[in-house]
Amino acid sequence: MATAIEINCETGEVIERPLTADEIAANEAAQAQAAADAIAAEEEATAKAAAKASAQAKLATLGLTADEVAALLG
């Protein structure tokens, strides 16, 4: 069971309690959002890499060398 710990700096008392239903729901929602964000970032990176590869291929058909393409695209 997930718990929350509170340390009272004046008394030194340490209280450990289970998370409330609202806290558990908030954590689960945040975890789901983080997972969705990670997937979106992965998809964006994949699309960007594909677009770059496509651009490189098209530039090569125009006669640019690999070094020239690299200089253009960084």
Partner: protein
């Protein structure tokens, strides 16, 4: 001679916990320093560390950060967030990282009792003991003039056992 760097309180987890809160922080110091060594149960290599002051979830936290992974650098900003470090790069280690590695974090909060908005600086390193790692430096602001009396540290995952949390006070005189 005044003591200028004093341990206020600490906690080393004996079992995992979703959050750690320092409450009833005395107002007898000038600045606060929070030092953390932590690892979470997120399944990837890193997990974001987050803070709230005085239990406040109002949209009053903002930040600007620089972060580097060794292969890429990023700058990011977040504002009107309901907790500090919303931009996502302020991370410790998690279960996807090399076993037994912990991230390290230091947060400096000056003038925490003064009746003005509360700035802070933070630096964290995700230390993977491998090729992948990340370091992030932050400037943050809590737009609230109340004295800070409690700090909640959480990550939306669970901090694992032996993660450690230390709160220090610094006096100018």
């Amino acid at each position: 001679m005044p003591s200028t760097y004093t341990l206020i309180s600490s906690n080393v987890l004996s079992s995992s916990a979703a959050s750690v809160t320092f409450s009833s922080i005395p107002a007898t110091f000038t600045d606060l320093v929070l030092r953390i060594s932590s690892r979470s149960d997120n399944t990837i290599a890193a997990s974001t560390i987050r803070l709230r002051f005085n239990g406040s979830s109002s949209a009053s936290y903002s930040e600007t950060l620089l972060s580097g992974s060794g292969s890429a650098a990023v700058s990011a900003r977040s504002s009107s967030a309901t907790y500090m470090f919303n931009a996502g790069y302020f991370v410790d280690d998690a279960n996807g990282a090399t076993a037994n590695t912990f991230g390290t974090t230091e947060i400096y909060i000056p003038s925490y009792t003064v009746a003005q908005n509360k700035p802070l600086s933070g630096i964290t390193a995700q230390e993977d003991n491998a090729t992948a790692a990340r370091i992030t430096a932050e400037a943050g602001l809590w737009s609230n003039t109340a004295a800070i009396t409690s700090i909640e540290i959480f990550s939306n995952y669970n901090f694992l056992s032996t993660s450690s949390f230390y709160l220090y006070g610094i006096k100018n005189s």
